[in-house]
Amino acid sequence: MQSILSIATDALAYSMALFIICIGLSLTMGLMRVVNLAHGAFAMIGGYIASYVARDLGLGYSVAIGLAVAGTVLISIPVERFLIRRIYGSSELTQVLMTIGITFCVIGITNYFFGPTLKTIPLPSLLAQPVDIGFRTISAQRLFVMLCGVAVAAGLWFLIEKTSFGIKLRATVDNAAMTDALGVRTQVIYGLSFALAIGLAAFGGVAGAEFLPIEPYYALRYMVLFLVVVSVGGAGSILGTVVACLLLGAVDTTGRYLMPDFGNFFFYAAVIAIVCLFPRGFLGRAQ
């Protein structure tokens, strides 16, 4: 029983870290219809900024997160304006080529400036200590990640369902031309959505740095993972992404406990099974 609860706890922590990173990609792919394979690169940039701020500049963890999110969003603004904006509405192949190109550039640049070794983000003593939750000890950082995941899910739900920005966003997704005709500035909505997605990616990169270590090839290494999670959950759906993260996280963690030799086999077997049953993901929208 202890083992089951323990596995469940690990799975939940991993799922939440994955969720925070992937929800941004879900928004980009579902709402803006851009296959943004550079999403992992932005998560990585967030991680690097946080590592630099916390380690080399010695500022606190919360400052590091704040600067990481702000910095990554700032970097993403010219990228969106000059590169991503060109590929809205293009064929998927064009989008893939552009965003993979951006990914490789980011990898090269970070490798050049920061070197090939991995970077850690020093945690404050509050988060670094193990916490005894009854059946086992767990790092406080993992509890923090779980809380953040829940907070992000709740916050996004509120934003999209209950605010006027959310209304405009949903309208733009359903029928961009009509929304534009009704006076909503869709370009601004796109820009803000992209910034939101990138900000979440950066936050996820920092929070998930314990699970997905920050090193130059991060962007490429986990690209398939993020893409798969979003596709299984259904692009554009928050609930779908939550379900996908929880399910795939559980399958992956359990698989690695029971038969570590098999590695990612169970994860991808589950993906194949789910996509066969739900071709658009769990809660994906019809195109």
Binding site: Y14, T117, I138, T253, T254, Y257, D261
Partner: protein, 393 residues
């Protein structure tokens, strides 16, 4: 009046003679293949540091023969590319010696070429025992996983640990380490309760730690390639309370290489590792080596074990050039260094005449904080003159 034709002939003859005179002091070319870019670029930098440190301390010529080093980049384990690079170095650049090679599959791919090329290969890193058996022209100055793991079996028993769970990454060196540890530990009376093999791309080690806990083992033996996996594993070990529960951690020095210690921080303190070289080794040769290599690297935190493998590799190559007088004769070169013994920065070493692999001291080290507050591998015990158990039949 000297006829023009005679003048031309005389000039040509003079030029030819002058050409012959300069040809007696040849340039001996050495081709070094290593990961100078990509995820393992830091290790390639260490190769270069070792090579250039040796040349800075011992001059760039041996017996009048100038030495030219040609570097070729091989970012990952890619046997086909390794073979192609070796062929290019031999045929186009006309190297007399090949050196370097970080990964085992690359060394295996190059070995078949050596006989025909009349070129010996001095391996600066690749650590699988079987490589030296692929060709009689292979010499290795690094270590093998079996060599660094075997003393740990005895150490584990002496630390009161009777049951160990082994967790290694599922690839060549990992499997070597698992087998070597199992053999040594069981010979000393211990029991390996479970042997987990983890996939290369594992990042979340909590489920593995749960298995460790469930197995009831008193100690963990781990082997992972240096980098993100190592950090994740050590962190998971501490965070899931295993360290607090008194489970002992044994590993090879690959996990605590000096360039990774800053990232591991306090979580690594107390880990016992077995390895052939620690940057903190206290000897005059090591002091000089560290100084010279750090000058090449620029940043002292980057210095790690591949540099000493390269440094000693260059020593062997220099001795080969001396023995063959700058001429290309691979068999004579290798014969000359069999049994060669010298004081390396790591301690006393010699090349075993039968296996052509380096016999050296293996040290038991503990990760501790030095006087400057930085983590280092402190040598607490020496196992002298260890051969490669992986080749002993």
């Amino acid at each position: 009046m000297i006829p023009r034709k005679l003048l031309c002939a005389a000039a040509a003859l003079c030029a030819l003679l002058m050409g012959c005179v300069s040809a007696t002091a040849e340039t001996v070319k050495v081709g070094i293949i290593g990961p100078f870019s990509g995820p393992f670029a830091a290790q390639g930098k260490n190769f270069q540091a070792g090579v250039e440190a040796y040349m800075a301390r011992n001059g760039k010529a041996v017996k009048g023969n100038d030495i030219e080093v040609i570097y070729r980049d091989l970012p990952t384990a890619n046997p086909a590319q390794a073979r192609a690079l070796a062929q290019e170095l031999v045929v186009k650049d006309k190297v007399q010696y090949l050196g370097g090679v970080y990964f085992t599959p690359d060394a295996m791919a190059i070995a078949p070429l050596l006989q025909q090329a009349n070129v010996p290969l001095v391996i600066f890193n690749a650590a699988t025992s079987a490589i030296v058996q692929q060709s009689p022209l292979v010499v290795r100055t690094s270590f093998t996983t079996a060599q660094t793991t075997t003393p740990l079996g005895k150490v584990a028993i002496e630390n009161g640990v009777k049951k160990v769970i082994s967790a290694v990454t599922d690839y060549g060196p990992g499997v070597d380490a698992e087998n070597a540890f199992k053999k040594a530990f069981e010979a000393a009376g211990g029991q390996v309760v479970e042997a987990i093999r983890m996939p290369l791309n594992t990042t979340d080690f909590s489920p593995i730690m749960q298995r460790v806990r469930d197995s009831g083992a008193e100690g963990v033996f781990a082997f992972l390639p240096s980098g993100p996996p190592t950090l994740g594993f050590v962190k998971a070990f501490n965070e899931t309370g295993l360290k607090q529960a008194g489970v002992k951690f044994f590993a090879t020095g690959d996990l605590t290489q000096e360039s990774d210690l800053p990232a591991l921080g306090d979580s690594a303190v107390g880990i016992l590792t077995g390895f052939h070289y620690a940057v903190s080794h206290d000897s005059p040769e090591n002091k000089a080596f560290v100084e010279a290599a750090t000058k090449v690297l620029g940043n002292p935190e980057l210095l790690s074990f591949p540099a000493v493998g390269a440094y000693d590799g260059m020593h062997v190559i220099y001795k080969m050039i001396e023995a063959t007088d700058g001429k290309q004769d691979a068999e004579k070169a290798v014969a000359a260094v069999k049994g060669l013994a010298w004081a390396s920065p790591r301690g006393p070493v010699s090349i075993d005449p039968e296996t052509r692999h380096v016999t050296q001291n293996i040290y038991l080290r503990e990760v501790a904080k030095g006087s400057d507050g930085k983590s280092l591998n402190k040598e607490i015990r020496t196992f002298e003159n260890q051969k490669d158990p992986g080749l002993a039949k």
